[in-house]
Subunit: 315 residues, 2 copies
Amino acid sequence: MNLLPGFDDILAAAARIAPYASVTPVLRSAALDTLAGAELHFKCENLQRGGAFKFRGACNAVWSLDDGQAAHGVVTHSSGNHGNALALAAATRGIAAHVVVPEGAVRAKLAAIERAGAILHRCAPTQAAREATCAEVQRATGAELVHPYADTRVMAGQGTLALELLQQAPGLDALITPVGGGGLASGVAIAAHGIDPALDLFGAEPLGADDTAQSLARGTRVTTVVPDTICDGLRALVGERNLDALRTHRVEVITVSDTETIAAMQLLWSELKQVVEVSSATVLAAILKQPQRFAGRRVGVVLTGGNVDLQALPW
Amino acid sequence: MNLLPGFDDILAAAARIAPYASVTPVLRSAALDTLAGAELHFKCENLQRGGAFKFRGACNAVWSLDDGQAAHGVVTHSSGNHGNALALAAATRGIAAHVVVPEGAVRAKLAAIERAGAILHRCAPTQAAREATCAEVQRATGAELVHPYADTRVMAGQGTLALELLQQAPGLDALITPVGGGGLASGVAIAAHGIDPALDLFGAEPLGADDTAQSLARGTRVTTVVPDTICDGLRALVGERNLDALRTHRVEVITVSDTETIAAMQLLWSELKQVVEVSSATVLAAILKQPQRFAGRRVGVVLTGGNVDLQALPW
């Protein structure tokens, strides 16, 4: 299950999720173009079902199951957008979704996952407890594990947004996504180079969780980084296969501080008029930090999600 | 100049502004549909050039001038979205824009108007001073006055958004806009009924500036209301001709409290993921306040603008 998807898998995923996922709009801002000195085409996955790109991967995984497998439901461990996306995706097929959530997870997010129809399983807030509880649910129910990023079907699903973006904004020179576990970045890399192998690919990573940048620099996967960043969607260590894909597709990672990201988040809200979560703003922060890499070019910019707590804004 | 536009004027305006104005997207939210018990189609004028629908009217006015008139430029009094829109519209034609602004206007808004290329003229913060200064600028420069709402060309321009919306979301049963001076509501009414005379039209007005609701109830224009509302875009008294149009087109006005509007604003941010200004949220507040009027229907909902100060949110 941990092999990288091929371009064909991504095309198949696009057809599979088409009845359920939104074709999200691509928005522009004259003010942001001026600021960046580049032509920015924002792919607004904050407007995707569930408010994040995660629905694409979860939906592809759910609809990849044969009827026998599907009858046992799906399971994952995630208190964030992936858990919510899997619940929504399972609902489109009328099957059970089990979501393992650590004690201490944000109550509003758990409520959203429950509203989407999932069965919550609480566990201690450690990686070991998550995995053990997940395995337990699998044994008890026969549910299929859908990992947030180290899953071929999930990566293929995330890649579909690049197919859409390159159709909506033809002739792009470069494309940038945030990097966390790498499911999005690798899916997008395979999809984008399947259409245009000359496209320059970039990733944006928080300085406080820069394991991908370190791994690419050293040529081997660095697993010693202890994430310390406000970007809650980008704290996961990059997966082994995801890292392989980033290397193969020559994805350059630009690191940004939380302060730079928060400033970029405010720009996306005030100029693009889009509510995006802090992790999404890393991409604009990266462009504004290293403008010479993007100057005068047509750049696809992936805004990953818009699930925020309006009572706890970071400024 | 204060006659109402006809449907033909609105069609002509649409052709006139097409090279400059954005065709703004229509967005949906499953969560908001569930909450309202209706099918809501949000016309996102927060994504219009300048961040508000006002660009449509200003642009139509600027490009309605013959070359001789245009050479002398345009003038208006507005420290808000109309001033900014007129500056942007004048720039598309390469002519001067004079904007009369009262002392005490929000510095950020004035900076935006100046950035858009306008010449600012300061005056005392009274209606009399605004009009006197405007007249002075007209005498000195020969500039054409473009009033924010009591102007046929402006009303025709604003009406173009209804043409777009009815094309993007065919088969609507009802349509709702905020009501301030009435330029938007009357332009939209004329456009919408030009396409579908059976459409039910609604306006949303702050309780603290409910001169339109009072005027329609009494059958005569009420001018004694002293505006007291957080909705800074809706403080103007309804214009005489604008009121005529609302009456002719049987526009029903629903009044909402600022508390209801702020709650609706948070829903638009958190569920639709759109940054909209507080005045824009009156429409959703009105739908949620009187759901029986909209239950089970397909409703066009006009979100007028998204120019907000992120450092001074009303919650």
